[in-house]
Amino acid sequence: MNTAYEILDVTTTANDVEIKQAYLRQVKDNPPDRDQEKFQLIHRAYSAIKDHKSRVSHALFMLPKANFDDLIDQILKTEQPANLSLEYFNQLLSASIDDATLLNVTATPEK
C-alpha cells in the first residue's frame, strides 16, 4: 500500500504549501465524480499530512515497514545506465540456450 506521501506524489520533506498544491493537483486529475474511491484515498492522504502536527502524528503512529526490498533497491543502485553492447548481447544470446528451450520449439504453441 502506498504511503500518504506516495499517494500525493510529494517528498517526505515537503511543506504545507507543497502538499496542498500536490493535493489540489491530484484532486483536479481525480475528481470525486469520476472515481469516488480514489478521491477519498487522496483526501485521506492529504488529511494525514496536511500540516506539521498531522505529519508528526502520521510518522508517530505509522508502523514502519522493515522493507528488505527498499534496502535491495538501494544496494543495487548504479550510477550509469545499462550497457547492452553487442558483446553482452551475444553473450546473453549464447547463455540463453538451454535444453528446455530447444525442446520446446517443436511443441505446439499455447493458444
Binding site: K53, A66, I75, L76, P109
Partner: protein, 829 residues
C-alpha cells in the same frame, strides 16, 4: 535393407488386434513389442508402418521427459521401418543438437533440402539460426547455400554489425529485408526491442513480451527483460538464473564487485531469508545501502529479531529506545494487544519527557491522545487533560473535554473548562457558541448576548447567534414590561426586529408589540392585536392558549382576560403536527424561561385538551416518548403520569415502566412500593436483555435512588446464594447455612416464584400471611421487620412449599437460625 513385405498370415489375427488396441490406447511400448513379434512371423507392410509410427511416438514422449539418447535410438529404429521423408526428422535433428553429436548433426543437416529448411521445418530452422549465431557457426557450411536461411543469416549479421555501430538506419534496413516467415523473425523482434530500450523501457519490454514461449529466442528475450529490471525486482529475477546469466546481466547493469557479491549472497540465501539473514545482510552491505538506511532497517527488524541487539549496538551504536518502544507499541496494536501497547507507549512518553523539546512535547500529547481513544470516558478525559500540558493549542481537545463534562453533567468542571477554552480561543466561533449555550442554560442572558454579539462580529450571518440575541432582546423586553419600564420596551423590540432572521421571528415580535400595546397603550386594540398575532403563530387554540398564557405570565398581564378573547380550547383535539408544535413551544419556553412555575401555570390552562388529545388520538410511540422526556425535565408529573399510563398500556416496554413509576411517585423513587420495585427490577432485566441500555440506565437510576434510602437489598432474595453481592462483608451467612445445599437450578426456580409472589401481593400482605402462619407471634413480626433477610428466608420456604419442592428446610429451621422466638404455627403457611 528393408525386409520384403508379404501377406498377413491368418493365424496372427488376434495378435494384430492386440497390437492395434495398444497403439490406439497410446501404449506405444507394448504396441512396439507386439508389432515386432508379428513381423518376426510375417513381413507385412502395414505392420512396418505402424511399428515405425509407434517408434516415433515413443521417441517424442521420451524426449519430452529429457531422455534424449533413448529418443534418438527409438527414432533411428523407426527409420528401419520407414522410408524418407521421415516423420519428425526436424525433432530428431534437434535431439542430435541436444546430445551435442556434432557428426550426427552435420550428417543430417547436410541431407536437408532447401524446401525442408525454408518451409517444412521452421522450428528447426530457428534453432539452427540461433546456433549459427552462437555455438556452431560452422553448421552453416552443411546447409543448402542457396536457401533463404543462408541469405537471411547474412542480413542478420549485417544487422548485428549495425547494432554494434549503433547505426539505427542500417539496422532497420537489414531487418526490413527479413520476411515474416524467416527463421530469424523473433531475433528481429528482440533486436528492435534492444534498440528501443534506451529510449523507452516500457516499449522495449512490451516488444520482448511478444516473443512466444515456443520460440528459440524465448530464453534470450526473458534474459533481456530481466536486464531491464532494477533493484529488488531485478534481484528476485536474478536469483532464478544460472551463474553465467547472472554474471552477464551484472556486467550489463554495471554492478561493482560488492554488488555482485551481494547478489551471490542473496542467491544462496533467497529461499531462507529469515529476519536474522536480512539483518546481517543489511549490516554487511551497509556500504552499498547507506548506514542510515541499514540502521533504520535493522532498528525496525529488532522488534521481531531481538537477538540482533548486540550486533546492532556494535554496528550502529546504542538502540534508539523511543523508536524501539514505538515500533513495539504499534506491533502490539496490530495484534489488538492494547494492554502491552499502552505499556510501550508509556515508555515512549518517558523517553520523550527525558529529552524535552517542543517537537517531543507534541509527540507526548499525540501519544496521550492516541491512548485516550481506547479508554472509558472518564479516563479518556484525564488523558486529554494531561495531553494539554504538552500541546496546549489543540482546540478540538478542549471541545472534547467540554463535551464530556456537558454529557456527564459536571457543571463545575464544564464551567472551569469553558473559561479556560474561552481564554485560549477567544475568537473561536465553536467555543463562543458553547459559551452562549452555557450562559443560556444558566439563564444569564446578558452574558449570552455578549457572546452572541461577539460571534456576529466574526460571522455576521451566524443564525445561532442571531437567534440567541433575538431571544435575549425579547426576554429583556418582557422583563421591562413586567417592571413597567415601557419607554425602553419599544427599543428592545426594535433591536430584535433589526436582526431580521425570518418570518417566524417577525410573528413573535408582532406578538410582543401586541402585548406592549395591551399593557401600555390601548387594551381593546392590544387584545385584538394579541389575538391576531397568535392566530398567525398557531392554527389551533391549544397552542394559542398555552403561548398566550406563557407570554401574559412573563410580562405580568392578566391571563384570563387574554384567554377569553381567544377561540375556546377545552374540547379541541390536537393533531399530530399540532402536538409536535406544542412540544417545540414547550421546549423553547423551558430553555428560555427562568421560571418553571410559570410554565406549570400555563400548562394548567391547556392540560385538559392535552389529556383528551393524548387519550383520543392514538399518537405514535415516538411522539409520546418525546413528550415524556420534556415533561420529565419540567417535572410535570400529572401530564407525565397520564402519558406514561397510556403508553405503557399499549406497549409494555421498560421505558414506559420507568416513566410510569417515576410519575406515579412524583419523581421520588424512594417512595416506590415494593411491588413497583419488583416491577422496575423485572423491566430493568428485560431492558438489558433487549439491549435497550438507555431504558436500562434510567431504570437502574430509579432503583439506585430507592436503595440509597432503603439500603436493605433483601428483595434480591437469593442474590447471596448466587454469589451476587460480592461487596457484602464476610460474616456468618445464614442464608448460605440454610439454603446453601440447594442446587442452582432449584434456586433459580425458587427465585422466580418469589418474584412472582411478590408482584402479585404487597410486601405488607406477604408479611401478614407470614405472621399468621407463625401464629400471630408479634416477636416474629418484629423480627421480620427488623431483619429483611429473615423475610427473604421465609419467602424461600414459602415458594418451595408452593412448588412442592422438598428443600429440607422448615419454617422452624429458619426462625431458629435467625434466633427468633418459638414457632407456634403449623408448617408452613
Amino acid at each position: 535393407m528393408k525386409k520384403k513385405r508379404t501377406a498377413t498370415p491368418t493365424d496372427s489375427g488376434s495378435l494384430e488386434q492386440q497390437a492395434q488396441a495398444q497403439l490406439s490406447a497410446g501404449k506405444y511400448k507394448e504396441a512396439i513389442g507386439l508389432y515386432k513379434k508379428l513381423l518376426q512371423a510375417s513381413d507385412n507392410g502395414e505392420w512396418h508402418e505402424k511399428l515405425a509410427y509407434c517408434y516415433v511416438q515413443r521417441a517424442s514422449a521420451l524426449a519430452a521427459k529429457g531422455m534424449i539418447k533413448e529418443a534418438l535410438v527409438l527414432w533411428e529404429n523407426h527409420r528401419q521401418h520407414a522410408q524418407a521423408p521421415y516423420a519428425a526428422y526436424d525433432q530428431y535433428i534437434i535431439w542430435l543438437i541436444l546430445s551435442k553429436n556434432k557428426a550426427g548433426i552435420s550428417e543430417n543437416i547436410r541431407q536437408l533440402s532447401v524446401q525442408q529448411l525454408d518451409k517444412e521445418y521452421p522450428a528447426l530452422a530457428s534453432v539452427l539460426g540461433l546456433l549459427a549465431l552462437t555455438e556452431y557457426p560452422e553448421f552453416t557450411l552443411d546447409l543448402p547455400q542457396d536457401s533463404a536461411f543462408i541469405a537471411h543469416l547474412q542480413l542478420v549479421k549485417m544487422a548485428l554489425q549495425a547494432y554494434q555501430d549503433n547505426n539505427q538506419a542500417k539496422l532497420d534496413e537489414s531487418l526490413k529485408q527479413l520476411p515474416y516467415r524467416s527463421a530469424f523473425r523473433d531475433l528481429r523482434m528482440v533486436l528492435n526491442a534492444s534498440m528501443t530500450l534506451p529510449d523507452s523501457i516500457e516499449q522495449g519490454q512490451a516488444l520482448l513480451a511478444k516473443i512466444s514461449a515456443n520460440s528459440a529466442y524465448s530464453g534470450f528475450a526473458r534474459l533481456l527483460l530481466v536486464s531491464t529490471f532494477d533493484g529488488a525486482e531485478l534481484a528476485k529475477s536474478l536469483v532464478d538464473l544460472n551463474y553465467a546469466q547472472r554474471n552477464i546481466i551484472s556486467n550489463i547493469k554495471g554492478f561493482n564487485k560488492t554488488q555482485i557479491e551481494f547478489l551471490e549472497h542473496l542467491t544462496r540465501q533467497h529461499e531462507h531469508l529469515s529476519d536474522k539473514v536480512k539483518f546481517n545482510m543489511a549490516i554487511q552491505y551497509q556500504s552499498l545501502g547507506g548506514t542510515e538506511l541499514a540502521k533504520d532497517y535493522c532498528q525496525q527488524l529488532l522488534a521481531s529479531y531481538s537477538a540482533g541487539h548486540k550486533d546492532f549496538k556494535k554496528s550502529f551504536g546504542a538502540v534508539d529506545e523511543f523508536e524501539e518502544n514505538r515500533i513495539k507499541a504499534l506491533l502490539c496494536e496490530r495484534e489488538d494487544n492494547s494492554y502491552d501497547a499502552e505499556y510501550y507507549w508509556r515508555l515512549c512518553v518517558k523517553e520523550l519527557i527525558g529529552q524535552r523539546t517542543e517537537e517531543n512535547g507534541l509527540k507526548i500529547a499525540l501519544i496521550l491522545r492516541h491512548l485516550s481513544k481506547r479508554e472509558e470516558p472518564a479516563e479518556k478525559i484525564e488523558l486529554l487533560v494531561e495531553s494539554l500540558q504538552y500541546d496546549a493549542e489543540d482546540r478540538d481537545i478542549y471541545l472534547q473535554i467540554l463535551s464530556y463534562y456537558q454529557q456527564v453533567e459536571m457543571a463545575k468542571d464544564y464551567k472551569l473548562w469553558l473559561t479556560k477554552t474561552l481564554e485560549k480561543f477567544p475568537q473561536d466561533i465553536d467555543v463562543l457558541m458553547q459559551a452562549v449555550r452555557e450562559a443560556t442554560r444558566n439563564k444569564t442572558y446578558k452574558k449570552a448576548s455578549q457572546y452572541a454579539t461577539k460571534i456576529l462580529k466574526i460571522d455576521p450571518l451566524n443564525t445561532f447567534a442571531k437567534q440567541t440575541l433575538f431571544s435575549s432582546h425579547l426576554a429583556h423586553a418582557r422583563r421591562l414590561m413586567r417592571e413597567k419600564s415601557y419607554h425602553l420596551v419599544e427599543k428592545e423590540i426594535a433591536l430584535a426586529e433589526a436582526l431580521n432572521i425570518g418570518k417566524a421571528y417577525v410573528k413573535q415580535t408582532q406578538l410582543m408589540r401586541a402585548l406592549f400595546c395591551f399593557a401600555n397603550e390601548d387594551k381593546v386594540q392590544g387584545l385584538q392585536f394579541i389575538v391576531d398575532a397568535l392566530a398567525k403563530l398557531h392554527v389551533d387554540p391549544v397552542n394559542m392558549h398555552f403561548h398566550a398564557s406563557m407570554e401574559a405570565l412573563s410580562v405580568g398581564l392578566p391571563v384570563a382576560t387574554i384567554l377569553r378573547a381567544l377561540p375556546p380550547a377545552k374540547d379541541y383535539l390536537l393533531s399530530e403536527s399540532e402536538l409536535h408544535q406544542f412540544m417545540q413551544l414547550l421546549k423553547r419556553f423551558i430553555a428560555e424561561s427562568d421560571n418553571d412555575e410559570q410554565i406549570h401555570k400555563a400548562l394548567e390552562k391547556v392540560k385538559a385538551p392535552l389529556k383528551k388529545a393524548l387519550t383520543g388520538k392514538g399518537f405514535a410511540e415516538s411522539i409520546l416518548l418525546s413528550l415524556c422526556k420534556i415533561l420529565e425535565k419540567l417535572e410535570h408529573f400529572e401530564l407525565l403520569r397520564h402519558c406514561a399510563k397510556l403508553a405503557f398500556a399499549q406497549w409494555k416496554k421498560p421505558i414506559w415502566m420507568y416513566y410510569r413509576v417515576y410519575a406515579d411517585n412524583n419523581g421520588k423513587p424512594e417512595d416506590c412500593t415494593f411491588r413497583e420495585i419488583m416491577s422496575l427490577q423485572h423491566y430493568h432485566e428485560q431492558a438489558m436483555q433487549n439491549k435497550d441500555f438507555q431504558a436500562g440506565m434510567l431504570l437502574e437510576k430509579l432503583l439506585d435512588r430507592y436503595y440509597q434510602v432503603h439500603p436493605q437489598r433483601s428483595m434480591g432474595f437469593l442474590d447471596n446464594l448466587f454469589g451476587m453481592d460480592d461487596d457484602e462483608e464476610e460474616e456468618f451467612d445464614r442464608m448460605e447455612a440454610l439454603f446453601g445445599h440447594i442446587p442452582d437450578e432449584v434456586l433459580i426456580k425458587l427465585n422466580k416464584t418469589i418474584e412472582s409472589l411478590s408482584k402479585k401481593t404487597s410486601v405488607e400482605q406477604v408479611a401478614i400471611d407470614l405472621m399468621q402462619s407463625v401464629g400471630n407471634n408479634q416477636n416474629i413480626m418484629m423480627a421480620i421487620m427488623d431483619d429483611p433477610e429473615l423475610f427473604s428466608a421465609l419467602m424461600v420456604v414459602k415458594s418451595a412449599d408452593k412448588l412442592g419442592i422438598n428443600i429440607d428446610v422448615s419454617i422452624d429451621d429458619v426462625l431458629k437460625c435467625y434466633g427468633v422466638g418459638k414457632n407456634t404455627g403449623s408448617f408452613p403457611f
